[in-house]
């Protein structure tokens, strides 16, 4: 307690000295005082004052709650679906490029994101560590606003949270390593110039090996320290030269890589639109802050402005309070800036991955726009909720949309595993195997992909191959329960009949060898040929016809609604058939139970549509609110509103 009081006293003294430094106009004296100030910081300011601790504590509690409840790390996990294996070769594979060690660490930490609470803790802890390092560095340079400024990286990281594909974990660990190395260099602080250079070079080499292009933050901080505090231009020059030479040498003699990868590897400054500015802010903030605060103090700019314009004279905007006003404003701004549409898209992916179909539809209902992968998930959820042919056109759809079940349209990189899942459920086991293998090549050995390959090979009765994928899966984290459950099946202690879902799919699997590559329609027909009770294939086939506006083919399949024991025609099918009846003679729908509501809606739609006298643009706008969720609307205008 006594030490703490003494510490606070010293801080206050240091604060007064700092003010003096700010008010003098003689540069030499200012530098001396800066050095004295720095020494006093070394002695007294390594522990934050209680109110600073409380402030930081509040900030990180808010940050944790923000990550936990607003962001939800589990959504990030489902979006990036990261790979990690505990085998040595998986680790050694990362060492092929500089920064591999931290990439491996990030891959490991990413696995914890699947658990909402643990994920939030990991992100908050790493962010706290980044800010703590930043605080240490700022204190070495300046006493002004350091406890507040050190939180700015956390703010940038918070702003980046609404991009669920932003490389958050690698950014956190590389940023932390660069700041930690900088802090280490500043804390060692040899008086001897040669020792300082040697220390710097050793740290630079290690940091380059583990964090690649992130050395430039380290070089910037150490360089500014030498330039501004130590006033040693030669050491600064050596630092700059070393930072240019080391990546070049690494490229020429150690790593096989491009020159741009040598210098910019693992710096997330690219391809993230607004997020690249966040990354820039994240990396440049500390050096820029150090430089600007030094210049302000060096040339007494704040004091001059204060004197001249009586800034901060009114009590409620005194500098200490100003920090909290700004902080509050930033927190409020953060919530306003958070893109909830991105979150909804991530939720759709997450809930589809975890087969929470109702939640998929709830999140989709709140979406303004879909991306192609969202369509796949929403259609899948609608099928599982038995509403595919009733409400599909309530969600955005367009007539060029592909179900992507075949390979003739190409391989959708972002959806290869989702498509594999669909094909698997429909009994197209070999096609599911191909899609899962393509996904593995594109996305790595993720647990989801390995599980799919295990199940595929079980259904193919390739138990040795299934065992191989199971072995690899056993080297992932947190999949022991799944592995032990299905190991009993592979080792013949259980049969497929003990797993109802596998048994169901086993009954649906294709039995004829259709050699070649086929389009959606043919693939779905093959499923129905193998098992006419394949309801999923049937509903997807009807949806395919609806999207392609092929009403004749739907008409030809109407008998199957009876075969599959549907309770009348689903709404969209009935709507389609009413359209067909209107356009083609001889279409009889008497045997099908079409509701009066559907018929009256169609009559109303038809009358209103005719009233626009062929002006499709006006008709589309005028009918959207009342008929936007009907197939009539989609058929006439080629897309949902």
């Amino acid at each position: 307690m006594g030490n703490l009081k003494k510490s606070n006293l010293n801080i206050n003294n240091a604060g007064r000295r700092r003010d003096k430094v700010g008010s003098t106009s003689r540069h030499g004296k200012a530098t001396n005082r800066l050095l004295q100030f720095e020494q006093s910081l070394d002695n007294t300011l390594l522990l934050p004052r209680p109110w600073t601790s409380a402030f930081w504590g509040c900030c990180f509690i808010i940050y944790f709650l923000f990550i936990l409840f607003i962001v939800n790390p589990a959504l990030r996990y489902s979006t990036i679906n990261p790979e990690f294996l505990t085998t040595y070769w998986f680790f050694s594979d990362f060492l092929n490029l500089p920064g591999g060690i931290l990439e491996y660490l990030a891959a490991f930490l990413n696995q914890f994101l699947q658990f909402q609470w643990i994920g939030a803790f990991v992100i908050t802890f790493l962010t706290f560590a980044v800010c703590a390092c930043a605080l240490f560095i700022l204190r070495k340079f300046t006493g002004n606003w350091h406890s507040f400024a050190a939180l700015i990286p956390a703010y940038f990281l918070a702003v980046a949270q609404d991009s669920y594909s932003y490389p958050l974990m690698i950014t956190l660990v590389t940023l932390l390593s660069a700041l930690a190395f900088s802090a280490l260099y500043l804390s060692i602080n040899f008086e001897n110039m040669i020792l300082r250079i040697i220390t710097f070079l050793i740290l630079l080499l290690i940091l380059y090996f583990i964090a690649a292009g992130n050395i430039f933050l380290f070089v910037a901080i150490c360089g500014l320290y030498e330039l501004l505090i130590k006033r040693n231009y030669m050491v600064f020059t050596v630092f700059l030269c070393a930072s240019i030479i080391i990546p070049l040498m690494a490229k020429e003699y150690y790593y096989a890589m491009h020159i741009h990868d040598a210098y910019t590897g693992l710096i997330p400054f690219y391809h993230f639109e607004r997020y690249e500015y966040i990354s820039l802010g994240l990396y440049l903030f500390i050096p820029v802050f150090l430089l600007v605060s030094y210049l302000l103090r060096r040339y007494s700019i704040i004091s001059t402005l204060r004197r001249k314009y009586h800034l901060f004279s009114r009590s409620f905007i005194k500098p200490p309070l100003l920090k909290y006003y700004i902080f509050s404003a930033l927190v409020i701004l953060l919530f306003f800036m958070f893109d909830f549409q991105h979150k909804r898209l991530a939720e759709v992916t997450h809930y589809a991955r975890t087969e929470q179909w109702d939640n998929v539809l709830d999140s989709a209902d709140a979406l303004d726009s879909f991306d192609p992968a969202t369509y796949t998930d929403v259609i899948h959820a609608l099928y599982h909720r038995d509403t595919l042919l009733f409400t599909a056109f309530k969600y955005p759809l367009y007539n060029k949309y592909q179900l992507w079940l075949g390979f003739r349209e190409g391989i959708p990189i972002d959806r290869a595993l989702k498509i594999s899942g669909l094909l698997f459920e429909m009994g197209q086991i070999n096609k599911a195997e191909r899609m899962a293998s393509e996904a593995m090549e594109l996305n790595g050995y993720t647990a989801d992909i390995l599980k799919k390959l295990v199940l595929i090979n079980i259904l193919k009765h390739e138990f040795n191959t299934a065992r191989q994928f199971m072995n690899i899966l056993s080297k992932t984290l947190f999949n022991d329960a799944w592995t032990s459950e299905y190991s009993t099946l592979i080792s013949n202690n259980k049969s497929i009949n003990d797993f109802p879902e596998l048994e169901r799919i086993h009954a649906l699997r294709i039995k004829t060898d259709y050699v070649g590559n086929y389009e959606n329609e043919a693939i779905l027909d093959q499923c129905l040929d193998a098992n006419s009770g394949n309801k999923m294939a049937f509903e997807y086939l009807i949806l395919h016809y609806l999207i392609k506006r092929d009403l004749g083919s739907i008409y030809n399949h109407l008998f199957m609604f009876d075969t599959l024991e549907y309770d009348g025609l689903p709404a969209h099918v009935a709507e389609a058939m009413l359209l067909l009846q209107k356009m083609r003679d001889g279409v009889s729908l008497e045997q099908y139970n079409i509701s009066k509501t559907t018929e009256s809606r169609f009559t109303e739609f038809h009358n209103k549509f005719m009233s626009y006298r062929g002006d499709l643009e006006k008709a589309a706008a005028g009918l959207a609110s009342k008929f936007g969720d009907t197939y009539f609307y989609f058929y006439m205008f080629g897309s949902t509103p």
Binding site: N96, R434, M440, E441, V515, N517
Partner: protein
């Protein structure tokens, strides 16, 4: 004085108890049928310069005792609480070097929970007189179909005398949509001074890398399924238009060749020729292979079939005489026509010219996707052929490579799990008889259980590669020497595709 006596008594008593378990051994003997170790290293013939055959005992016990011995020199004794048996490299190398031509006994005992050592099994192997080439080159890649991304595949070299593995070339780029495929690495006369390697990259296209006398060339010419003429003056390669065709049941992936022609590249003149003898418009030619004396080229040829009749494409083994001085070919002859329902691929002549090993498959020219692919050995003197029964398995065997002394054959086999190829070694004796093959040992005996990549195109070579990975990488993207081969034939048509260019094809008409 009494204290010393107590110590002596204690030591003697301890030794007496340590020697007791012999009585328990007879009690718990396990029969030969129950022997189980992974990988299977029993009844095999091994080169005297192979790395230790580390293995896993597939039975749980409290401890294990392994004695490895031969006729000459001290044996190796290992005691382990873990079933993973890792043999000391130095002692192993010495034991093998002193016992060429002798038997190698591996005696395994286990300590059961009931107490006492029991004989688990005794493995008897043979150490051959003949060494195998020290280096094995291979490609590692995922089990994949058509997509490839950045850094997922690479060419590696393994010192088979130890567990050292180095990367020859792996292209990993940190940018979106970067993708690189490396394939068809081949050396001149098992010597790494001259090498060729085909590459496909999303930004630089499909060059061939060629190493000659320490220099690395970027040859602006797609070339696959390469084979060096023994003089090093000619490089035969194949130009194919492969397409993936998929099965709905059974094995998934199949490959069909729409267009196959053979071409010859002459590095000294930087010229590519398409000899008419090797390029018939209505026929498919592929898998060129020079005879060791350089006077013949062997290759596979089939009549073109439409894709609907993919399973009717049956390749014969052809031979064309070649004059290395003029570079002229004579009209090829059918060297071997298999029975109906079979097709030949990947002919490889032993360095002494006595034998040829090839793959026999039901149809087509792409063994690695066909489970029924088997290795056959042909006596080149009388053209008699037989399956390499001892080496073959119910799964696919393909991509074989002779050692420089012609006594060893390394090949890819999918026998361990049915999907992923692993490199196996077999000894071929003077009569052309193959020994029981064994998988290349790994430091961690369970390695293959958890390794998700497949071993492709294993090639033996006498020495390590001398060009660094950095130089090969540079030659791909920022080459100092670019060769644009002149062609004596018509310019390539749009349908000319390099080997390995998978492309999905139109569906099979119903």
């Amino acid at each position: 004085m009494m204290n010393y006596l107590y110590y002596i008594l204690l030591v003697v008593t301890s030794f007496t108890f340590m020697c007791i378990p012999s009585s328990a051994e007879t009690r718990n003997t396990i029969t030969a049928d129950e022997q189980r170790i992974y990988p299977d290293y029993s009844g095999i013939t091994i080169p005297p310069n192979i790395a230790p055959l580390n293995f896993l005992i597939l039975d749980s016990a409290d401890a294990y005792s392994v004695d490895i011995s031969s006729q000459d020199g001290a044996g190796i004794h290992i005691r382990s609480r873990s079933p993973r048996i890792q043999i000391p490299e130095d002692e192993w190398s010495e034991l093998l070097a002193r016992n060429k031509g002798n038997s190698l006994l591996i005696d395994i005992k286990s300590l059961s929970t009931s107490g006492g050592w029991s004989n688990y099994c005794t493995l008897t192997n043979r150490i051959a007189q003949d060494k195998i080439d020290d280096y094995l080159f291979y490609r590692l890649l995922n089990w994949q179909f058509s997509k490839y991304s950045s850094g997922t595949m690479g060419i590696y070299q393994r010192n088979v005398s130890s567990f050292d593995e180095d990367t020859v070339l792996r292209v990993r780029e940190r940018k979106d949509a970067a993708a690189t495929c490396l394939n068809c690495h081949t050396f001149l006369n098992k010597n790494t001074d001259t090498m060729a390697l085909h590459i496909r990259n999303s930004s630089v296209g499909k060059p061939m890398l060629m190493v000659r006398d320490g220099a690395v060339y970027h040859v602006d010419q797609p070339a696959g399924l390469l084979s060096w003429h023994p003089s090093g003056e000619y490089l035969a390669y194949s130009v194919n238009f492969f397409a993936i065709i998929m099965h709905s049941v059974g094995y998934t992936l199949d490959v069909f060749d729409f267009k196959g022609d053979l071409k010859i590249y002459q590095p000294d003149q930087n010229i590519t020729t398409a000899p008419p003898q090797l390029n018939k418009p209505d026929l498919l030619e592929t898998w060129p292979e020079w005879s060791p004396d350089g006077r013949y080229i062997y290759f596979c040829r089939a009549t073109k079939t439409p894709v609907e009749e993919y399973d009717q494409a049956e390749y014969n083994l052809m031979r064309a005489a070649f004059d290395p001085v003029t570079g002229a070919f004579k009209e090829p002859e059918i060297f071997f026509a298999p029975l109906t329902g079979f097709s030949i691929a990947q002919p490889k002549v032993s360095p002494d010219g006595k034998f040829m090993v090839f793959c026999m498959i039901p149809y087509g020219s792409w063994p690695v996707t066909q489970p029924k692919s088997e290795l056959y050995l042909m006596n080149m003197t009388n053209r008699e052929y037989k399956p390499l029964d001892t080496a073959n398995s119910p799964h696919c065997e393909s991509y074989h490579s002779w050692s420089s002394n012609g006594k060893w054959l390394v090949f890819s086999s999918k026998r361990l799990d049915g999907l992923l190829s692993r490199p196996f070694i077999t000894h071929i004796d003077a009569a052309g008889k193959a020994s029981k093959p064994f998988v290349i040992p790994q430091e961690n005996p369970e390695f293959y259980k958890y390794f998700p990549k497949t071993y492709n195109v294993p090639e033996l070579a006498a020495e390590p590669i001398k060009v660094t990975q950095q130089r090969l990488f540079k030659a791909v993207f920022n080459p100092e020497r670019i060769l644009k081969p002149r062609s004596d034939s018509e310019p390539p048509s749009k349908s000319d595709q390099p080997a390995g260019e998978y492309r999905d094809v139109l569906p099979h008409p119903q």
